[in-house]
């Protein structure tokens, strides 16, 4: 079944973009037709990660009503392994565009929500199996628009005290109100192989967040060392991070997040 998946977090630096790009690449590797959306208009980054120099139209133009979504989509399928399709819709990274997007009013945001919701009819099923939304952290318009549009929200968090409380509140006061299905990814976990650490994490997720866990991602030095130059799901097929991504993608594909 086709789906819109939003990747969100309370704080920045939790690994949303890393997860979005790699989950999209994993779905594509599984033979799915995927489109990755950069909805982080405050700090666009997918153009750099995907090494796209210029776009005919940006996602900003689509949300402004200045072009059709098909003009925004960039076909990157040649870069991935297997028979899947991999497209991207990018946010305009210029300072002027970031400034312009941060000054939008409520009425614009309402129309933007309508345009995001209409992607379900225009892109899902026929053209794509999965739309992956990479979002800005915290409670702001573009992110909440993405969450409302999505069928499933991957919530990235870390064990950091500053992140735990905010994530918990966001789960209760945002996702619950919109009745969204969520899966929690705890990223940058130290020493995840020890039994006590895993038990501690399970306990924390059950007690603190009260939502299903999608995955536990250890702190991999290789990910930091790659400096955003590698898409692990594609470039390092045998890396443990790739295997964790495979498990997460399979759970999402099979609706097996409980």
């Amino acid at each position: 079944m086709s789906k819109i998946v939003a990747v969100h977090s309370y704080k920045g630096g939790t690994g949303k973009t890393l997860l979005s790009v790699n989950l999209a690449a994993t779905f594509a590797k599984h033979g799915k037709k995927v489109c990755l959306f950069d909805l982080d208009f405050r700090a666009p980054s997918l153009f750099a990660i995907l090494k796209v120099d210029n776009a005919e139209c940006w996602l900003n133009d689509y949300l402004n009503g200045n072009c059709s979504i098909n003009k925004v989509l960039i076909d990157l399928s040649s870069r991935i392994l297997g028979n899947g399709k991999f497209f991207a819709a990018l946010a305009n990274p210029t300072t002027e565009a970031i400034r312009e997007m941060s000054a939008k009013d409520r009425k614009w945001e309402m129309r933007a929500l309508g345009r995001l919701l209409s992607l379900r009819n225009t892109l899902l099923n026929d053209q794509f199996d999965y739309l992956i939304f990479d979002t800005s952290p915290g409670l702001q318009y573009s992110s909440i628009n993405a969450i409302v549009t999505a069928d499933f929200v991957v919530v990235a968090t870390t064990g950091d005290r500053s992140d735990v409380d905010g994530t918990r509140r966001m789960l209760q006061e945002l996702y619950n109100l919109f009745e969204k299905k969520t899966g929690l990814v705890i990223n940058k976990v130290l020493d995840p192989t020890s039994k006590s650490q895993k038990e501690e994490m399970d306990k924390r997720v059950k007690n603190v967040y009260q939502v299903p866990m999608l995955g536990l991602v250890p702190c991999f030095c290789e990910v930091l060392r790659a400096e955003g130059n590698l898409i692990f799901a594609q470039d390092k097929p045998n890396h443990p991070f790739t295997k964790i991504l495979d498990e997460m993608a399979t759970k999402i594909e099979n609706n097996d997040v409980n």
Partner: protein, 124 residues
């Protein structure tokens, strides 16, 4: 058409008109009951209030569910919304009409069916 035929059709036409009017009255009653139930402070008539995500977040739970369904469907009748929310059609009709009074939704009649939608294009 003979005179007899016209006369025989007329009562049916009149009955259909009465039913239509009763349905409209029923909808108005539902709105009034809803306003009484939840107080007037939530239901100040507004013109073209934007149905954005922050508004959705601040809505009472029962209205948010209905408004979210319209957001997803784009355009729907009370019957269609009630199928999505698993609540009674009359309940959804009351909530939808309340959202119209609040200015978040528009209502359009096509024959006997009333369609509800968020008018995003007028929000310019």
């Amino acid at each position: 058409m003979t005179r007899e035929e016209i006369l025989s059709k007329k009562p049916l036409h009149v009955l259909e008109k009465i039913r239509e009017n009763l349905e409209r009255l029923n909808e108005k009653m539902e709105v009034m009951i809803e306003l009484q139930r939840h107080g007037h402070k939530d239901a100040q008539p507004l013109n073209d209030a934007p149905l954005d995500v922050m508004t959705l977040l601040s809505m009472p739970d029962h209205l948010r569910k209905t408004a979210m369904t319209i957001c997803r469907c784009g355009r729907a009748t009370a019957e269609e919304v009630s199928q999505q929310t698993s609540r009674a059609r009359a309940v959804e009709s009351a909530y939808l009409n309340q959202l119209v009074i609040m200015g978040y939704l528009k209502k359009e009649r096509q024959g006997r069916k009333a369609y509800f939608y968020a008018d995003r294009d007028s929000q310019r």
